[in-house]
Symmetry: C2
Subunit: 360 residues, 2 copies
């Protein structure tokens, strides 16, 4: 009873396997007598027939499966993306399986090879760094539809669904400038991921347009990985350099912003009174922080959904070239940003320090 096959059912019912096969497939149910089909269904249920997608996939040449590759499962921004993809896939009976690359090229290669050799019908990934472009293009050229989500590769010719991160950077800068900040810093994400470059460029563009070129000293190096730890390290270096402090920093994602908050706290500085901190992504946890993080919201779930549909379209029409999609960010103002106060104001430590509260 361990492995029931079509042949088992055929023997049991004294029918041919092809009849069984047709009976079990709702799309082909019309080709078989209703009574016969009922018998087959009953027997299948009774004997516990579970199907055998491996065999079916081999014959059909399709697996109704797509691989979802993310850089880091712990980074909350990937969860809505995954759910969006899965939701889109579900509607067409496709299954999505998730793998984590750890933002490591070799690991990504292993995953891709596995996925391709397992003949997934498509691959959707948000783990693309510029150094991965050739490999990813190779996968697509070899016949597995590949769509980029959240992160994109500018001139790769690969289809993508991403966000307008340049605009997001602008939103961050405008918000800070409108409040009166002039000493601004950026906590840059990895330089080999285009979205981080876009955020930085958008931010810088606004400063320049307003005639406020940021002092170079306020600009951090790029993080090796966009993590809490790196955010803490970069912010620490910024703060320990002596001289004027920035009154506001734009962290290129929420994780790095959390690191920045820690670096501030470790030095007895208060956010937002001493330094305002702007995050990016609007991770689920950010509103639960203290202070709740002002950040740039991205419709990541929507991006996932669109990426899923794009992959399905690519599966339906292998040759097609879907046009890239860029979704609009919006600014979420919470409590980690306030107008600048005179630097070194000692009274800032308790006065007006707000209790944690949910954003409305």
């Amino acid at each position: 009873m361990v492995n029931v096959t079509l042949a088992d059912l055929a023997r049991h019912l004294d029918l041919h396997v092809s009849t069984i096969s047709r009976s079990l497939d709702p799309a082909r149910a019309g080709r078989v007598n209703a009574a016969t089909r009922a018998r087959v269904l009953a027997a299948a249920a009774e004997l516990g027939y579970t199907g055998h997608q491996i065999a079916g996939s081999l014959r059909r040449g399709r697996s109704s499966t797509v691989g979802i590759v993310v850089p880091d499962l712990s980074n909350p921004f990937v969860h809505p993306v995954i759910r969006g993809v899965v939701a889109a896939l579900d509607r067409r009976g496709f299954m999505g399986f998730v793998a984590e690359s750890g933002d490591d090229h070799a690991q990504l290669r292993r995953i891709l090879e596995h996925l391709v050799s397992r003949r997934v019908d498509a691959i959707i990934t948000s783990a693309a760094r510029s150094g991965d472009a050739a490999m990813l293009k190779g996968v697509a050229r070899a016949g597995t539809p590949l769509v980029l989500v959240a992160r994109y590769l500018p001139d790769s010719g690969l289809p993508w669904v991403t966000h307008d991160d340049h605009r997001g950077g602008e939103l961050a800068a405008e918000h800070l400038l409108d409040l009166g900040h002039v000493r601004l810093a950026q906590l840059r994400g990895p330089a080999d991921v285009q979205t981080f470059l876009d955020r930085g460029a958008g931010f810088a563009d606004v400063l320049q347009r307003r005639g406020l070129a940021p002092a170079a000293e306020f600009d951090s190096a790029s993080a090796g990985t966009p993590s809490v730890e790196e955010g803490r390290r970069l912010m620490g270096r910024l703060l320990d350099r002596g001289g004027d402090r920035p009154t506001a920093v734009f962290a290129h994602n929420d994780l790095m912003a959390i690191g920045a908050l820690e670096a501030l706290a470790e030095r007895g500085l208060c956010c937002p009174l001493d330094v305002s901190v702007m995050g990016y992504n609007d991770n689920t946890l950010t509103e639960h922080l203290n202070p709740p993080l002002s950040t740039v919201h991205l419709p990541t779930r929507e991006a996932g959904r669109l990426a899923g549909e794009m992959a399905l379209a690519l599966i339906d029409e292998p040759g097609s070239r879907p046009s890239p999609i860029r979704l609009e960010p919006t600014l979420i103002a919470r409590r980690s940003i306030a107008p600048p106060t005179p630097a070194g104001d000692a009274a800032a430590s308790t006065v007006g320090r707000p209790a944690s509260r949910r954003a409305g």
Copy 2:
């Protein structure tokens, strides 16, 4: 050039597919002439042969793949578990694919059916609720090795790697009692997940042993899902009930603890001065909270690794019955817990409110 097969290579090299097959498999390399093998390898690289695990799996009856099913990708406790499993699998050339059940029975069923019909060699899941027991046992009985991780099913006969959550509950209670707390409350996780029941029982046992039966009013209902939102709701109900407040609450996981912190903040109460909060799991983010959360640490990555190895053992010896493993929790004291202070102490709002700081 889209899909290179063994037959393509065979034609190209004027050899038989069987020779190609043997050349490509390191384990069978001895059965073929070294020079021939070199030619095959070269040709395979040149033509871009990627293998075809679907076909191989069908013939071999093994897929070298295991499914990993988690309840909620956003719950940080699953990430170390997944990484542990993947690490164990990697060492033996197995690939792990992740799926998310959303703690939904129907969704879990769909995932399991997919996985079984896709003939994964084993399934590892931390999504087991008591109502899923029959279904999971059915999967195992039908021939797919199934191991439970983090969550277990007491009398299911299914193998598991979990934590001693009863002991974890005890640790939490002891810590609080040692500090002098007497008005204690629990924020209970879902009642159909054994680990939460264990945490609650361990906690209650200590109270009883010390002759301190908790007033029933301080005991929350069970959360529908162990989330921030539910923690916030339960804590809110506890606080709004009037009468004495508990001086400390034990949230059955960190997410609920975060919700509890919010509920406190919303009412202008301070943690830990007004109410101490104890979490559970030691999620990565908990040390970044304000205040950093005291919690119970679980070796979740280790649990994942052991579960992975257990699954491999089950694959190697289908009949075997590995003995369940229970890992020891440890207490992590951070800043969300302090000795009790006179209730309603108005001065509590600023005095001694510590800046966020990383735990050593």
